[in-house]
């Protein structure tokens, strides 16, 4: 971040309460120009509320928001011209075609790319004259993206651009975001896919219950919050065959935790997870300990930590509701 440069976004002490919930509970953020910034968190974490306050669509109870050196009170008209917005859920009129929709949105901006360019960018050339009602989920999402891009925005807000899409459509959208990054736009996106954040974002803020609980590059987050590898296993008793359901054999957790290198333990749906720092020495001992307890491994695997594990470590919960 260049010292003294105006940040693309600066949030201070943001709070917002709805009738029954404190949706945003004191957030400070700064996003540099040209950065791709991710807001990550489970359902109801307050991502949409935060981003919509930034977009000037929701009023905050407390705190200040500054975009590109302007604020919504005095610079709204200019800001609207400079930013592009994709909302979490917008249904464009089914009976309008792709081209008509983009022409409409283009007319709102003083300057921007042409309708043709936006269609090409979103790779919707074949669907140019199709009605929106006949588009696939991924195509609709790309159209929403195109409406955010027609004004050639400096700052782009994308609220869950890939939720509900199949893997191929997601990759397609990622390519589009990468393209935006290459063009030097600032991007702020929300997601609850960790792989998406790791792939796209320069920095990530992990949100939970209206607060930012961690903020760094994906690499750093993983390195500082859980540098270890993750060992996952499931057991069945040595005599008894698999699939005993609730009566699954008891694992002596304390014994496992005493093994040098094992940092923590948790169980999720019958699968035990250990975070382990010295994988090569710890794994043989884990095997030995389980054998000693008369337990039989039915599953065993290791992987290096991901943002998902960071979240689990920070909150003790899984990112997505089961």
């Amino acid at each position: 971040m260049q010292a003294g440069a105006v940040p693309a976004l600066r949030i201070r002490g943001l709070r917002k309460a709805f009738v029954d919930v404190q949706a945003v509970n004191g957030i400070d953020l700064e996003v540099a120009k040209g950065e791709c910034f991710g807001l990550l968190g489970p359902n109801g974490a307050g991502k949409t509320t935060t981003i919509e306050i930034c977009e000037g669509l929701t009023d905050a109870d407390e705190g200040t928001v500054e975009l590109l050196g302007r604020n919504w009170k005095t610079g709204a008209d200019e800001l609207r011209q400079q930013i592009g917005i994709q909302l979490q859920e917008t249904q464009f009129p089914d009976k309008l075609t792709v081209e008509e929709t983009l022409r409409l949105f283009r007319s709102f901006y003083r300057s921007g790319i042409t309708v043709d360019e936006s269609i090409k960018l979103a790779q919707l050339e074949e669907k140019r004259r199709s009605r929106i009602g006949g588009l696939s989920g991924g195509q609709k999402q790309r159209l929403a993206m195109a409406t955010a891009l027609v004004g050639d925005p400096e700052l782009l807000f994308l609220d869950e651009p890939t939720t509900g899409l199949d893997p191929q459509a997601r990759r397609h959208l990622w390519d589009l975001v990468e393209e935006m990054k290459r063009e030097g736009r600032t991007i702020i996106l929300t997601t609850h896919y960790m792989d998406e954040a790791e792939q796209l974002c320069d920095r990530v803020a992990i949100m939970d219950h209206g607060k930012v609980i961690a903020l760094d590059t994906p690499k750093e987050l993983i390195a500082t919050v859980c540098s270890e590898d993750i060992v996952e296993f499931a057991v069945s008793g040595s005599q008894v065959p698999k699939c005993e359901g609730p009566g699954a054999p008891k694992v002596d957790v304390e014994a496992l935790k005493k093994i040098p290198g094992v940092q923590s333990h948790r169980v999720d749906d019958g699968v035990h997870q250990l975070s382990v720092s010295e994988l090569h020495t710890a794994v043989p001992r884990i095997f030995a300990a389980l054998e000693e307890q008369g337990l039989h491994l039915s599953e065993f695997r290791t992987h290096s930590a991901t943002l998902e594990d960071v979240f689990v470590r920070l909150t003790g919960r899984n990112l997505r509701d089961e």
């Binding site: 977009e55 000037g56 669509l57 008209d77 609207r80 011209q81 917005i85 909302l87 859920e89 917008t90 249904q91 464009f92 009129p93 009976k95 309008l96 008509e100 022409r103 409409l104 949105f105 283009r106 007319s107 709102f108 901006y109 003083r110 300057s111 409406t147 004004g151």
Partner: protein
């Protein structure tokens, strides 16, 4: 100009909003039916049902051959002989309007005196029987017949249907699509763009005016060609009235839709607003038939004012300057709902 992009319709947001709105309306087949086909079908149906028939022949019954013969002698009656029980049944189902029964020396007429046709039948039947019995007219009379356009039911009906149609299409047109846009977060997406908010609403009003031209020309053209309905007042004043009426109901549609978040709510509200006017505002029959105590209320309704003014223009050739009461009522019904809905309108 230093503007990099040439100003044109293509880049005018107001034009694009209006054009989009028009396209969406025209691509909705049901809306097309209600706006264009329905009023024409209704006019056609009612026009045929209530057409002025050339000298109606009224069906009557009589219990004796002599009475039947006496009645049949009059060209205005079509008499059938039937016994009393058959006659009672025929009266009840409406195949005859009157039954003449012999009672001793005299005659008894059985008919429904609240039915104008039956009352006419009573007069003709009585005359026929008296004449058959030897009555002589003391004064000689001749008939000179007039069938004036402008005084028929269809003439009365057309301005009424026009008013109701303008009300329906403006209210449904705005109400539904605004609430749908809110429900689908399209409104929110629009205000997230630099679109000036007033243009969104102005786009609705302008597209309404374009639709209005088509709607009114098609409907009145039909009424003129098929029924020969008169246009006695200046056409430009009628056009002005149509625009005003459409604006009034657009404002009401906007008001009704300004906060509702579901189609069910807005449909309910819309019916609540329109139903009283369908009944009270004199579309199908004169509003002056309602009791005097209701009259101030009935007169203050926008649809009553609209229909009165349009009837005045079309049927009596009244000048706009003499319709200032109605115009005033309409202007008030435009200004107040419009101002209120701008204040309470919810974009999300």
């Amino acid at each position: 100009m230093s503007n990099p992009k040439k100003m044109s319709l293509e880049t005018s947001s107001l034009f694009q909003l209006t054009a989009t709105r028009l396209k969406l309306t025209l691509r909705e087949p049901e809306a097309m039916f209600w706006i264009f086909a329905f009023p024409i079908l209704l006019a056609l149906g009612l026009g045929i049902a209530f057409r002025n028939r050339p000298a109606d022949v009224l069906p009557v019954g009589a219990t004796t051959p002599q009475l039947t013969q006496a009645l049949a002698a009059d060209k205005g009656l079509n008499a059938t002989k039937m016994d009393e029980s058959a006659g009672t049944h025929a009266l009840a189902v409406g195949t005859i309007l009157l039954l003449a029964e012999q009672r001793g020396d005299g005659v008894v007429y059985r008919y429904d005196n609240t039915n104008p046709d039956a009352r006419t039948a009573r007069m003709i039947a009585d005359r026929a029987i008296e004449v058959a019995a030897g009555r002589k007219d003391v004064v000689t009379a001749e008939n000179e017949l007039i069938h004036e356009t402008g005084s028929r039911y269809i003439d009365f009906l057309i301005p009424g249907l026009l008013g109701m149609n303008l009300m329906g299409s403006a209210m449904w047109g705005l109400g539904f699509s605004i609430v749908e846009g809110r429900q689908k977060k399209l409104l929110k997406r629009m205000v997230a763009s630099p679109m000036p908010r007033w243009q969104y609403l102005a786009g609705y009003l302008l597209s309404r005016l374009v639709m209005l031209v088509i709607e009114v020309v098609v409907f009145l053209g039909f009424a003129r060609l098929v029924f020969g309905v008169p246009f006695r007042g200046p056409l430009w004043q009628l056009a002005l009235l149509c625009v005003l009426v459409s604006l009034v109901f657009s404002a009401l549609g906007l008001l009704v839709a300004s906060r509702a978040t579901t189609i069910e709510t807005v449909s309910g509200l819309m019916n609540l607003v329109m139903l009283p006017m369908w009944i009270l505002s004199g579309g199908f029959f004169s509003a002056s038939r309602f009791p005097a105590i209701l009259q101030p209320f009935v007169r203050a309704l926008p649809l009553t004012a609209a229909i009165d003014a349009m009837r005045g223009n079309m049927l009596q050739g009244v000048q706009l300057s003499q319709l200032m009461l109605q115009v005033g009522i309409l202007l008030a019904w435009f200004a107040v709902p419009f101002a209120v809905s701008l204040r309470i309108f919810r974009w999300r």
